[in-house]
């Protein structure tokens, strides 16, 4: 029979083991706040082991929407932010929370919908026209609604279509306030349209009746950038380790690795660190 002393010892032992990894992971690890798309697309599971082998640095990724990831950086809870909403990133820099933003890679957004396609938008090249058709038909549309990069891109596209979705919330336009995968699951189970980044879509396993209906409009471009959190704002930021991660991502080697990441032969991200205006 377990006596109280054994139980207490076991409790203390387990607590001390739980605390130990945090103590020793201090040495060579950084926290990167990133987007759900980089995680849901599987990019990090592929890229981070390569980086670790090269440098010995463990990258701990917190996967959030772009807005939340930047807030994590603002609070000083991450060393690096790796997101995709240029205007929000520039605001982050202008507030003094970031050191310098580096473009890393791009892919594009795709408009996903059910095969039945009630709005009749399949094969179109003009995303604004497609969105107007969805609204005119009162066809269901799922919005991320979570201040993520994809949400920001979606709102910009609605603006380009002259549709005020603020007014439409609750009817055919449903903001779910969740990540990309949850939005795709919801769209799949309710025959709705949804905007997704291509990487998350390709890696998504519950496609069901959903498919890409509109793609290739240049307004659906999706640029990713990486920024070191400003050590002048938060002294705990591991600037050297964080900078090595950024240097790797934009180095020829890191850029090649990103371009080499494929699922079923399909490339998910296109490196473009040399395009400094991106």
């Amino acid at each position: 029979m377990l006596n109280r002393r054994t139980l207490l010892t076991a409790a203390l032992l387990s607590a001390s083991i739980a605390f130990a990894p945090s103590a020793f992971a201090q040495d060579k690890s950084i926290i990167v706040a990133s987007t759900t798309s980089t995680q849901d697309s599987g990019l990090f599971e592929y890229l981070l082991p390569l980086f670790k082998t090269k440098t010995g640095i463990t990258v701990k990724v917190i996967s959030q929407g772009t807005g939340q990831a930047l807030d994590t950086g603002r609070r000083g809870d991450a060393d690096v932010v790796f997101v995709h909403a240029k205007s929000a990133e520039e605001k982050f820099l202008s507030e003094g929370f970031g050191v310098k933003r580096h473009p890393v890679m791009y892919n594009d957004f795709v408009l996903i919908g059910p095969k039945s396609d009630p709005a009749g938008i399949k094969g179109g090249k003009d995303v604004a026209k497609a969105l107007v058709a969805i609204k005119d038909k009162n066809a269901s549309f799922i919005s991320r609604g979570d201040k993520s990069g994809t949400h920001a891109a979606e709102l910009a596209l609605w603006k380009a279509s002259n549709v005020d979705v603020e007014k439409e919330t609750g009817g055919w336009y449903k903001a779910i306030g969740q990540g990309m995968g949850a939005a795709l699951n919801t769209a799949g189970s309710s025959n709705a349209y949804v905007l997704s980044d291509r990487g998350s879509w390709i890696n998504f396993k519950n496609k069901g009746d959903l498919g890409i209906l509109v793609e290739g409009d240049k307004r659906m471009f999706n640029q990713y950038g990486v920024t070191l959190v400003n050590p002048a704002k938060h002294a705990n930021v591991k600037k050297d380790l964080g900078q090595s991660f950024i240097d790797y991502l934009i180095s020829p080697e890191g850029q090649k690795a990103i371009g080499d990441y494929k699922i079923n032969g399909e490339q998910l991200f296109y490196p473009n660190a040399e395009d400094t205006g991106a």
Partner: protein
């Protein structure tokens, strides 16, 4: 855990990633229950045996806190442990320690409230005897906790169930970091978001089996204990 695998395959092939996740889940939840028991059992017994102004209100609040939403507890601990928060210099955010703290906050009211009820019921039976033997307040609390120990196992199990099942708090304070703060429940949330529903439900079944096993162990220990205590 990548590629087209099923949860069953992960178990059968002894996938190290899966075992690490199961281990972390148990470590975090059991540690939280241990910490919560150290705080909650004496606290519950103390409230059961003492009379002071505002006691009824405290009991109501304690009972209500059994329903504390995990995401709220998580957010409160997040703000406390964030680098911009009062305890930011400890550097605990996004570590297993932060997860234990958050779950301790969730589990302590459950253990304290159930202990209070158990001990108070027992007190009615023991009152005259303890008064006759002239046992002091600390002695009373110790005696009642000891004699209620088998019933208190249920309180601990209720606390463990709460800890093992929740995802809201540990997602916020742990960050679901691969190989570091990823547990069974946060993995299930992640696989669901990747659309891998078969893997997600498979992991869910494994989690339920583990919880059943822990309860079976506790039940066996309790039965054995009762026999020895005779």
């Amino acid at each position: 855990m990548t590629g087209d695998t099923s949860a069953l395959q992960l178990v059968l092939t002894g996938d190290p990633g899966l075992y690490a996740i199961v281990w972390l889940s148990l470590l975090v939840s059991l540690s939280a229950v241990a910490c919560a028991a150290v705080i909650g059992v004496p606290l519950g017994a103390l409230i059961a045996l003492t009379r002071f102004p505002g006691r009824e209100a405290i009991i109501v609040v304690l009972n209500a806190l059994m329903g504390l939403p995990p995401v709220v507890a998580g957010l409160a601990i997040y703000l406390l442990l964030s680098r911009s928060g009062p305890l930011g210099s400890w550097g605990l955010l996004f570590t297993p320690a932060a997860m234990i703290i958050a779950q301790t906050v969730l589990v302590t009211p459950i253990i304290a409230a159930l202990t209070r009820q158990t001990v108070e019921d027992l007190w009615l039976e023991y009152r005259d005897e303890l008064a006759a033997l002239d046992v002091g307040p600390i002695g009373r609390i110790a005696t009642l906790i000891w004699d209620a120990r088998f019933s208190l196992v249920t309180a601990l199990l209720a606390g463990f169930g709460r800890a093992a099942a929740e995802v809201g708090a540990i997602m916020v304070v742990g960050g679901n970091i691969n190989n570091f703060t990823r547990t069974m429940t946060t993995s299930i949330a992640l696989e669901t978001s990747k659309g891998d529903l078969p893997l997600a439900i498979g992991l869910g079944i494994i989690l339920i089996m583990i919880i059943v096993m822990i309860n079976a162990l506790a039940w066996t220990a309790r039965r054995a204990g009762e026999r020895y205590a005779g």
